[in-house]
Amino acid sequence: MKRLALVSAIVLTLIASGAMAQESLRVLTWKGYAPAKLIKAFEAETGIDVKLTYSNNEEMIAKLRATRGAGFDLAQPSQDRISFVQKRFPIYQPIDYSKVNTGQLVASMVDAVKKNSAVDGKGYAVPHCYGTTGMIVNQKLAPEADDWSDLWNPQYDGKISYRLKRPLLIATAFGMGEDPFALYDDIDAYRALMKRVEKKLIDSKKLVKNYWTSGDTQVAIIKSGDANVISGWDGKGWTLHKENPDIDFIAPKSGALGWIDTFALPAKSKNIEGAYKYINFMMRPENAAYFTNQEGYGTASKDAINFLNAEIKANFSRSFPPADLDNIKWHPPVPAGFEKIESKVLDRIKAAK
C-alpha cells in the first residue's frame, strides 16, 4: 500500500517535471503551413518546443469551442471565419499589433484582415498567407474548361469533381452570374439564392464523378484520371502542374475565390510571447519565401518576393492574367446564421439521387 503510493508519487513528479522542463508552443494549423525545416530553425533559435496539430476551419472552431479557447497557444483560421465565431463563443483574444513586426508584412493585407476579423473595434488576426479557390483542369482532355459553369457542363459528364462545402455554393452562385457576397446583409435574399444553387447542383449531380473531401483526395482524383475538371486550390494545382504539365490551375472567368489564412490567439493561450515570436519568425521574408516555394501559396510577407523561385513567380503570372487577378472575389466575413442555411443545402445535395 505504502509502496504503491510512493511509486505513483514518483511517477507523477516525473510526468510533471517532464512537462515543465521546456517552454512549449502548441500550434493549431493546416498541413503544410509549418514546414519541418522552419520549425527546427525556430526551435533552435528560441528554445521553444513546437507542437503541431493539423486541422481545418471547421474543426479548428469546434476544437476551440469545446475547450472555450484552451489547449492551443496559436491558431490559423481563415480571416472570414473569425468575427462571427468570436461574437458568439469568445474563443480568441485580441491581437496586440505592437508586438507583431508589421513592417515585414504587406500593409494593405494587415489592414484588411484587422478590419474583417474585428469585434468591438479590436482586430483578432494577423495575415499569414493567401490563395484562391478556382479550378484544376486537365487541359489536354478538357481544353475549354475555364469557368465555374463548367462544373455542370454536360460535355464533361462523369469527369467532374468538387468539394461539397460552402465555397462551392459561393462558386456556383458566381458561375450562375449572381453575386452572393452582395447578399451578405440580406439573409432572405441569400436563402433564396441558395435554393437556386441547390437546384442547380442537384440537377447536375449525375455529371459528377465524386465529391473530393481533402487536399489529398483532391490531388488523387485528377492525378489518377478519375476526373478532368475539378474545383481546387491554386497551390495544389501548381504542384500538380510541376509533375504533369497537362494539369494546371485555372482562375475561373466568373472569379476565383480568394482566401486569407491568419494567425489568431486562442482565448486561453498559455504562451502568448512565444506565439508572437512564432508569427514574427514565420513572416521573415526568407522564411515566408521558403514556405511559398514549398507550398505554392502566396505570403503576406512583404519582401518575400526577392527570395521566390522563378517557377513560383511563373505560376502566378500564368494562372492570373491581370483581368483575372482583378476579378478575384475575396471572402468577406461570414454573417451569423448563414452556415446553418448552407449546411442544410449541402445535406440535401449530398442525399439527393
Binding site: 449531380k205 473531401t213 452556415e339 445535406d347
Partner: protein
Amino acid sequence: MKKRSGTFYLLMVPVLLWLMLLIVIPHLDMVYRSFRFETDDWEMVFSLNNYLTFFRDQIYWLTFVKTALYSIGVTFLAFVVTFPVAFYLTKVVGKQYSSFMTLLLLIPIWIGELVTVYGWMILLRDNGVINTFLINIGIINEPIEMLFTNFSMTIGLLYMSMLFMIVPMMSALDSLDDSLIEAASDLGASKWTIFSKIIIPYTTPGIVSGGIIVFMLVIGDYVAPNILGGKSSLWFTEQIYNKFLMSFNWNEGAAFGFLLLGLSSAIVWVALKLSGQKLEKVGS
C-alpha cells in the same frame, strides 16, 4: 462478504475516475445539450425541438432508414461470406493450420481501417488494378465504374467488419461436438438437414453476437461510407459530424447521436427477440 483491503479500493479509483470523467459526465453533458434549443434571437431554451427535427425533416430520418437497412444487409452478407470460412477453419482443417490461418485473417485489422480503405481505392478505381486486369485479358473494353458507388462502400464495410463475425462463430462451432454431425449423417440426414437442424441452431448464439458487433460497427462507421461511398452515400454518422463541425449546431448533433444510440439498440433488441436469444447468453 469478504472484507476488502485498502488496496482494492485504491485500485478502484482509476477505474471509477475513468468511467466518470470520460464516459458518464460527457454523456450527461450531451444529454443536457440535446434538450437545449437556440431560438432565432440566440436564446437557449429547453425544448424537444432537436429530436423533433429528425422526424420532421424527411432527409434525416430517410438517411437513418437507409443507413439501418444497409447495415442489416452488410451484417447478413458478413454472415454469408464468413460462415463457410469459420466452418472450414474449425471443422475441416487440422488444429495446427487453423490457428495460423486465423492469424492471417487478423492482419487487415493490424493495418487500420483507413489504410485498407485506400487499398480498396487502388483496386477499384477506373484505371485501378481490377479494371486494368480485366481490360488487358479482354473481358471488357471500357472500365466498369466500381469506386465511389454503393458497391465499393459495401465492400469496404464488409471487409472491415467480417472478422468480428468470424471469431464468435468459430468459438461456437469449436464447441460443437463432431459426433453430433456424424450421428445425424449415420441416421441418413441430408447435408442440408444437418446444416439447418444441427449446425445453425447450435451456433445461433455465436451468429447473433457476431451480428450485433458487425451491425453496431457498420451503423456507426464513418470512414468507409465517407471515402468509398461516393456522391450519394450520406451515412447517418456523417450527418452527426456535419451538425457538430459544419453548422456548429452541437445541440442537434447531440440529439442525433442519442437517436442513433436509441434506434440502433432498438433494432438489436428486435433482432434478439426474433432470433429468440437472450442478451446475457449472447454476450458471454
